[in-house]
Symmetry: C2
Subunit: 442 residues, 2 copies
């Protein structure tokens, strides 16, 4: 039986805004593991104007032609308002799904509009895929490190997350083979391999062309569905995009795409491309979750793709982010030579290994005090690893602010190193609150 929630609350009259929860006994098992991500706890502080935030993943939208977008949105509502403001289909607007095919063709994907399911950001696509496949205790294999928002979804469905290392060429096939073989021997059901092949969040690395078919072959042989999460693929700083894994295999890959980084996140429009039978179930799951994606958002994006030089806009974004990457890497070389880092060839992030003995999580409150924010590497592991790394993002601040941020960070790192030199590693590490991974920054 559900315990009567009022038993305490009825004698002690519950106060508005109290932290007491009369429903504490009623939550589902999956709810108990829920917690704010480290990134979320950080945002309230990192958004203060005096802080240089190298923490967030917000794209820089300053280059968008807002007046022209405003104009075409006005026309959309005036001429097609009865459609834009109405319910739509659960799978998504057909014209937009055709346009999504054009976008994906840039990475070699050949698909049919029927294969595409439009979602409320690719985050929802990931939530739905996990919902379809993962029973509590099933294994999801993810890179070490992996996208914090994906780890949150897998935890929400009570998956066991098993990490497989990556190196400068992305996920290591030999390590994947070994992990899947071991998991099979242990009798543990592996449902998904989750990977961000291009300009990895947080690691900044890209799965090499040579490794892509090898990873696919290993996954296929072990009967594991690959979830290829690709929000950054078109934001490379040199050369053409690599072919997507989905371009090499149809039936073993669910591809997740997004307009959040190549256009704008405020519409919350992403998509999944899935094998036929899976796609049908994705639509059913999405209808259960939200009925249908927003027609207003979908038609706004469709209109943008129709009326604007979206390829030129992406090119402009690439150049802007490359300049910021250069500012970040230059400043790291100049100010924190004792650290090492990846040099991303696209995307938003570099992954910085701190000098020996430093702990990114313990150091964070001191960085905030010095008015610079980053995300501790621990956010990107399901198992408490990562304190020797931090993720620095170069997407949102200007190059000037990036350099200033890295300078501030350098002073914090230098102070930490002095402490470590005097007191040894242990002191710094003991400052970490291991039980409660979100630093209390409020």
């Amino acid at each position: 039986m559900t315990p009567a929630p009022g038993s305490a609350a009825q004698t002690v009259q519950p106060v508005h805004g109290t932290r007491l929860d009369p429903w504490i006994g009623a939550y589902a098992d999956r709810t108990h593991g829920m917690r704010a991500s480290e990134i979320r706890a950080l945002f309230a502080v990192a958004n203060r104007p005096e802080v240089v935030s190298l923490a967030g993943g917000m794209p820089n939208l300053a280059g968008l032609p807002l007046d022209a977008i405003a104009e075409s949105t006005q026309r959309l509502v005036a001429t097609r308002g009865l459609t834009a403001l109405q319910y739509g289909s659960g799978q998504g607007d057909e014209r937009l799904r055709e346009q999504i095919l054009e976008v994906m063709r840039l990475e070699g994907i050949d698909a049919h509009p029927d294969d595409v399911v439009v979602t409320t950001g690719s985050q929802q696509a990931l939530d739905l895929v996990t919902r379809l496949f993962v029973n509590p205790g099933d294994v999801v294999v993810a890179e070490a490190p992996s996208y914090v928002g994906a780890l949150g979804v897998f935890r929400a469905y009570q998956a066991d997350i098993v990490h497989v290392p990556l190196d400068e060429h992305g996920l290591v096939p030999e390590a994947l083979e070994e992990a899947l073989t071991r998991l099979r021997a242990e009798g543990r059901p592996v449902k998904l391999l989750y990977t961000v092949p291009n300009f990895h969040n947080p690691a900044g690395v890209t799965l090499s062309l040579e490794r892509r078919p090898r990873v696919l072959e290993i996954a296929r042989r072990h009967g594991v569905l690959v979830v290829e999460d690709n929000p950054y693929g078109l934001l490379g700083f040199s050369g053409d995009p690599l072919p997507a894994m989905r371009s090499m295999e149809d039936d073993g890959v669910i591809y997740l795409g997004s307009f959040s980084k190549t256009f704008a996140p405020g519409y919350r429009i992403g998509w999944a491309v899935a094998p036929h039978a899976v796609r049908e179930k994705l639509v059913l799951a999405s209808e259960s979750a939200i009925l249908c994606p927003s027609n207003a958002s979908q038609l706004s994006i469709s209109t943008y793709l129709e009326n604007h030089d979206w390829r030129g806009q992406i090119k402009q974004f690439r150049e802007m982010y490359r300049e910021r990457r250069d500012a970040m890497i230059g400043a790291l070389s100049e100010h924190i030579p004792s650290a090492t880092w990846t040099v991303p060839d696209g995307g938003f992030y570099t992954w910085v290994r701190l000098p020996d003995g430093l702990d990114a999580q313990a150091m964070l409150p001191r960085a905030i005090t010095a008015l610079v924010a980053y995300v501790s590497g621990t956010a990107f592991y399901a198992d408490g690893q990562g304190a020797d790394h931090m993720r620095l993002s170069f997407c949102y601040p200007t190059p000037e602010r990036i350099r200033e941020g890295v300078r501030r960070l350098a002073s914090v790192v230098d102070a930490e190193r002095e402490l470590v030199d005097i007191f040894g590693t242990a002191v710094a590490r003991e400052n970490r609150i291991v039980e409660s991974p979100e630093p209390d920054l409020a």
Copy 2:
């Protein structure tokens, strides 16, 4: 172990678009119960222009001031585009949450902006609430009949749905007391009481003022959280709105609201008001599911509420829907006097009991052939009941089309009654495909 999905598919090369599913062995348990709702199967057919659809729940948007909305959307993107097109907070835009309080004040709800969580339609709010509370096998109590989209959500989380009858005054308190007492005696954990108190979908009835505190008291005493789903509350045809259940109790009610029927569904913006601790978990669950609701949609609605006479617009909607309700009820009296129906005092639906011996599900293909569509009552029960009822909606077609639709329906009913008179009830009933509740209309 996951069975290797390729074992069959690799020898028989999978054909694009085939119905064979190489991942059939990999789905989670919750996925196996997933199926298209009866309503969905219907939509493809019901949307043909020659069919009068009394099936759908699409609001009629013809009265919206589209040019003015287009204009203010243009200004929004031109002047606040960098916010509207960016990520927002997981809980939703603060100004919009304040405006939502103004809307809810019309039903006597006194809350704080912190209590509100903005969602992708109220459907997402229902999905998140169920996610937070329902383990597989937990009981959700719902009216008999109940909203088909809610039943789908409860099924997706593997809830056991227990129906409690309603009558012309809404949910029957004595029946609720009896059901909860019985469930407690059986040791079955009841997590939620799901109710649509105003202008019920599909039943068209309203929970009387006198019953509201009684239902709340029973739920509280049994430790059951009430989910008050209220998309239609402001669309009453006479008098002021009844006070919401949430206005009578804060800690035992999660209130779900929506702009889909009072403004426009195309933005997919709804909300939940929940007790403090539950609200925090709702935000975490929503961030996991979609990161954040669409800023573009939220600010569009906020701008509409700011710049337009939204109360006047709702009044106009009420008058339009009342006229359609009158057309529907008048036509039923004239053409199908052998049936009985509820006379809704608001909302979109009337619930029609067919003459004895007729089966709404069996009759549906013949109705479609006669170019009129409805939803069989079976869609609104978790347990196969409801074939003696159908839901007729009067929201979308014009009064003229409604009358024409009912005339067509009358001819189908008359033909069915002749069949029943000749062959008896059994024949009609045996036509039903009980195993597969969605009629194959394609």
